[in-house]
């Protein structure tokens, strides 16, 4: 082109003409949906506690039930619609983690159960697990020496 921007100018210009996400609306939606998911978790937690289970058992079972619900609604093709509406509201809770494991497992089934589902299941959640474990080991070591 005869007249054009430099790369820096172009980047600035593109930023000025590209629409931004509707931040305020998205935050409200994420807050409501994320809050509702947490309320559901709390109801399950209280119900299990009311049945006389000890607190470790209640925490573990509540997580397991929420993970099941996330996986279940992913399989029913509902969770992606929820995610489109709620954004971080449905990604951050543990149901979102289940969705990030189940969705590639479903998607890559066409390449077989081993090289498809098995190999690709953790393609999104994998880094979370890797760095989660690393961080927990690090914190564990610090904890050991300090206390």
């Amino acid at each position: 082109m005869n007249k054009s921007f430099t790369k820096e100018e172009y980047s600035q210009y593109v930023k000025s003409v590209s629409p931004n996400s509707k931040l305020f609306l998205n935050i409200i939606k994420a807050f409501l949906v994320g809050g509702i998911i947490c309320v559901i978790g709390q109801v399950i937690f209280n119900w299990l506690k009311g049945r006389g289970l000890d607190s470790d058992m209640v925490s573990g079972l509540t997580s397991a039930i929420m993970i099941f619900l996330g996986a279940f609604f992913t399989a029913l093709n509902v969770y992606d619609e929820l995610g489109r509406f709620a954004g971080a509201g449905s990604i951050v809770p543990i149901t979102g983690f289940a969705n990030s494991v189940v969705s590639p497992a479903m998607e890559f089934k066409t390449e077989g159960y081993i090289m498809g589902t098995g190999a690709k299941m953790f393609v999104i959640a994998g880094p979370v697990i890797v760095f989660g474990i690393c961080a927990s080991i690090l914190v564990g070591i610090i904890h050991y020496f300090i206390i």
């Binding site: 082109m1 593109v14 992606d80 929820l82 995610g83 590639p104 066409t110």
Partner: protein, 339 residues
């Protein structure tokens, strides 16, 4: 001395090839879009009876080829070449879609610019006397593209407002040496153009400089002015890229406001269909050209069209390695008659 080459990047044909027929098959979402009336067939669901998205895309290619041959009243053995490609790794949609056709095949990859690339090369084959009948075609499929370039379909994520929606569809043009028209008069081949945009959710911005560059070069090489064309149409810049392209052209003293559009903006009802900036993918420009634009030319509503398909030449690997996105645009100048 190459007598048909003019200016820096343009070819003028001595025996301009004709576009004898076109065919387009699209997905269900495109079939609810703004141009739904113009397509030959709308598939009932994205799998179309196959067991994977990739196989469904190959079926799109296979059926679109047979449709264009049927409309052009030609059989497979009368076609000298098929030129085509798609977005999938190693162009498997075209390779598998065409494997039973028994027609010599050149596989092309120009990302979403492939339709104009195939028509450019097909025209050169015909004008050069190497072929009489050539089919130029491309395809893309929302689901197969999503999983190659983005995330699994069922992942609950939000799309950026600048992102685009890959069109499910395949479009084909049958080029012949018959003097029936509409004619391909010029082609301007684009250069790879990288302005440093690395956001894969804003491919319109990555491709717009390439489109503007090719359009400006086309006018410089041919000596034509914008009012020569009834419509200058880019491939898949989307709403954001369309605005950027117009601004870049304006900076260079060319005002196309009333005769400029973009296939990605035209194909969907972007607001109702939640497609954000618009459509994209090889199938976007291919189906809009083969469906809407060709029919408008045949009706006489458009006499001269400059078809500028645009491509973003990145891959998931280059994106992860933090490379910017190179863009490209090829222009094909199509005339209803030769006067």
């Amino acid at each position: 001395m190459a007598e048909r080459h003019i200016g820096k990047q343009t070819v003028i044909f001595k025996n301009p090839p004709s576009i004898k027929a076109t065919a387009s098959i699209v997905g269900p979402k495109e079939g609810k879009g703004a141009l739904r009336q113009s397509f030959d067939y709308i598939i009932p669901d994205e799998l179309w009876g196959e067991d994977s998205w990739e196989k469904a895309e190959s079926k799109l290619v296979r059926e679109t080829l047979s449709k264009v041959l049927q409309k052009g009243s030609l059989s497979n053995d009368q076609i000298e070449y098929v030129l085509g490609g798609d977005l999938l790794n190693q162009c498997i949609a075209a390779n598998y879609g065409l494997r039973e056709t028994d027609i010599p095949f050149f596989g092309l990859y120009g990302a979403c610019s492939t339709m104009a690339e195939s028509m450019s090369l097909g025209s050169m084959l015909i004008d050069g006397g190497y072929a009489d009948n050539v089919v130029c075609m491309t395809s893309s499929h929302f689901c197969s593209a999503e999983r190659q370039f983005r995330y699994p379909l069922e992942l609950g994520s939000q799309r950026a407002p600048t992102s685009q929606w890959t069109v499910t569809g395949s479009g084909a043009a049958l080029l012949t040496s018959d003097q029936t028209g509409p004619y391909i008069r010029y082609v301007t081949t684009g250069k790879i153009n990288d302005m440093g945009i690395s956001d894969v959710n804003n491919m319109g911005a990555a491709m717009a400089p390439a489109a503007a560059d090719t359009i400006l070069t086309h006018f410089a090489d041919t000596g034509l002015t914008p009012d020569y064309y009834d419509l200058i149409v880019t491939g898949d810049l989307g709403k954001v890229g369309k605005k950027i392209c117009l601004d870049l052209l304006n900076m260079n003293g060319i005002d196309l406001e009333n005769r400029f559009n973009d296939c990605g903006v035209m194909i969907f009802n972007t607001k109702d269909q939640d497609t954000h900036s618009g459509g994209s993918g090889c199938g976007c420009s291919a189906t809009v050209f083969a469906g809407h634009l060709y029919k408008e030319m045949m009706k006489g509503n458009l006499k001269r069209v400059l078809f500028v398909a645009t491509g973003a030449l990145m891959s998931p690997i280059s994106t992860q390695q933090k490379e910017s996105i190179p863009g490209i645009a090829h222009a094909v100048s199509i005339h209803r008659s030769l006067d």
